[in-house]
Amino acid sequence: MVSLRVYIISRLLLAIPMILILLSVVFVVLRVMPGDPVDAIVGPKAPESVKEKLRHELGLDKPLWEQYVDYLSGLLKGDMGTSLYTHRPVFEEIMDHFPATLELTICSMIVAIVVGIFTGAFGARRRNTPGDVAVRVYGIMIYAFFIPWFAMLLKLVFSVYLKWLPSGSRIEPWATPKRITGLYLIDSLLTGNIVAFVSAIRHLILPSMTLGLVLSGIFTRMTRGNLIEILRRDFITAARARGIPENRVIYGHALKNALIPIITMFGMEFALLLAGAVLTETSFAWPGIGTFLVERIAYRDYTAVQGVVVFYALLVVLVNLIVDVIYAYIDPRIRY
């Protein structure tokens, strides 16, 4: 277990240069991009003196390298700075929006994994039958769907025509539960607020279907491919030769082995999940980090955008690390 600790620490240290490079690129790109935070705040027609004053207050009149050094030294002390637009601490603002994103991404991941594994296993068991071909087509097609378009399609069917589900936002405003974790599903259960729970679920279904189904394509293809490969292994024939029931052979012996590479992929998919969440959130007016990010890009809120990038980068590193640890736990052959 000592070596596991060393492994985790070294992975975290390796993440530092990566985040630094990422941050530098974002820092420069934001400032090279046309548009000006001062214009965005007071409007382009405001008198030049007002703009100058604001620019000075925000520290935007300093040379670029000084702004860069200021920001980095703040970050080292754990300070993500204050938003140019709202003057609130960026970290606080991110934390306000993060639970919404977390709730959406977790539900989407569940959809993606459940649908992916189910369809993949279905195809693998019926290899080269029409059912399998359908699974293969699904795996490729769904992954190519453009999220805003798919979101619109689902909204059109389930909100507009069928009127079953709401087309946006996280919850009915009057049903919002008391904030404990910020995750509505958990908060409403903790406070015993069933009305809020039902409302939160109804609002979650379409966004997590959109994101989850699009991401499920990769899991479908991975599960199918791995399972076919594993089902050819000797230990599967050996298990059948011991009279183990077929369902147990597939879902107990084979699937667990097939899932190992899928777990690794989950780590890599996580970045894609966050990116997909941005599109999903904006499509469903979901008040998460994605919506926050798009809004602040429009305002040229440099510190907020930088903050989100750092936050996401850290999150991806962390999740990949957790996945590696889980991997070692599932596969007894792997030791760090």
């Binding site: 000797d234 230990f235 024939t237 050996a238 030769a241 009279g243 007894p332």
Partner: protein, 325 residues
């Protein structure tokens, strides 16, 4: 031989594989008889269909393989007429199999303990504790410390893993064990240990065994009778001692001659000239005739029938009759 003494009878078994290149006639008209408590060796070159015979008995052929014809009568009942569920209850409990490669035949994510417990609990209505006790017993009998039962497959050597595979095959005390090249993947010293163990266990458990191998030295040590296969057909079937004393079929003769001997000075390793035939388009007549030193004209045209030339001694060759059949 009294009829109730027969455990397994294979009649006219014909198995084909459907591949892109064509239909492979892997096993063609094989008849075999195994009595209770005896060990029968199934011998032949790679690809002659011996493993296919084993898998046919288990009804575990790969998806592209099909039993076209024949009967496999086990304890009076035709296995080929059983439903998949009935067959599943026979596998592991009444007929079990030991595979060639112990390195890949265990689930890498499961502890040895769980392999054994799962097998017992699949077939018998016992508690987990009871199953664990039985697992510990069998593992100790096979020379593995019972504490190691909690380890994973990758923590064992090849020989130890084969012991575990044997434990898995024997834990439910089956009537018949099909051992498919059980020592091929092991080094020589370990091979000898495993063979010794099999010999011992055969006595202890009083089971029948089909030993599939290409190694004649194993056959001579372990089997009561030998069936020699060539290109999907059975060519000779007799008591082990008799076959080693005097092989009748030219192929058996060639096989025996190709065993290197240390007591006779030889210039060169003996081998049978030519290659085993392509089973998509097997040669007409006797499938061995292109390689046979005694081939006659009739061999190229007609497939010789299996002839019983002595009691319990069958040969499929025109040199021993059957010419007018």
């Amino acid at each position: 031989m009294s009829h109730d003494n027969v455990l397994l009878k294979i009649e006219g078994l014909k198995v084909e594989y459907y591949t892109r290149a064509g239909v492979v006639k892997a096993v063609d008209d094989v008849n075999l008889l195994i009595r209770r408590g005896e060990t029968v060796g199934l011998v032949g070159e790679s690809g002659c269909g011996k493993t296919t015979v084993g898998l046919s008995i288990m009804r575990l052929l790969p998806p592209n393989g099909r039993i076209v014809r024949g009967k496999i009568i086990f304890d009076g009942e035709n296995l080929l007429e059983k439903s998949e569920e009935e067959m599943r209850r026979i596998r592991g409990r009444r007929i079990s199999m030991i595979f060639q490669d112990p390195m890949t035949s265990l689930n890498p994510l499961m502890r040895i303990r769980d392999h054994l417990i799962e097998t017992v609990m699949t077939h018998e209505n016992v508690s987990r504790d009871e199953a664990l006790k039985r697992a510990e017993q069998i593992v100790e009998m096979l020379g593995i410390e019972k504490e190691r039962i909690h380890d994973y497959p990758h923590q064992f050597s090849g020989g130890m893993r084969q012991r575990i595979m044997i434990a898995l095959a024997l834990i439910l005390n089956p009537d018949l064990v099909i051992a498919d090249e059980p020592t091929t993947a092991l080094d020589v010293i370990v091979q000898a240990q495993i063979l010794e163990l099999l010999k011992d266990l055969k006595k202890k458990f009083n089971m029948s065994m089909i030993l599939i191998t290409h190694d004649l030295s194993i056959v001579s040590e372990l089997t009561d009778r030998v069936a020699v296969m060539y290109a999907g057909k059975l060519v000779e079937f007799a008591d082990t001692i008799k076959i080693f004393e005097e092989p009748f079929h030219p192929y058996t003769e060639g096989l025996l001659a190709s065993i290197p001997r240390i007591d006779v000075k030889q210039q060169k390793l003996q081998s049978i000239p030519g290659m085993p035939p392509d089973l998509i388009n097997p040669p007409p007549g006797c499938r061995f005739h292109p390689r046979c030193p005694y081939a006659m004209d009739i061999c190229k045209e007609q497939d010789p029938p299996m002839v019983e030339i002595e009691k319990g001694r069958f040969v499929k060759c025109f040199r021993y009759g059957g010419r007018n059949a």
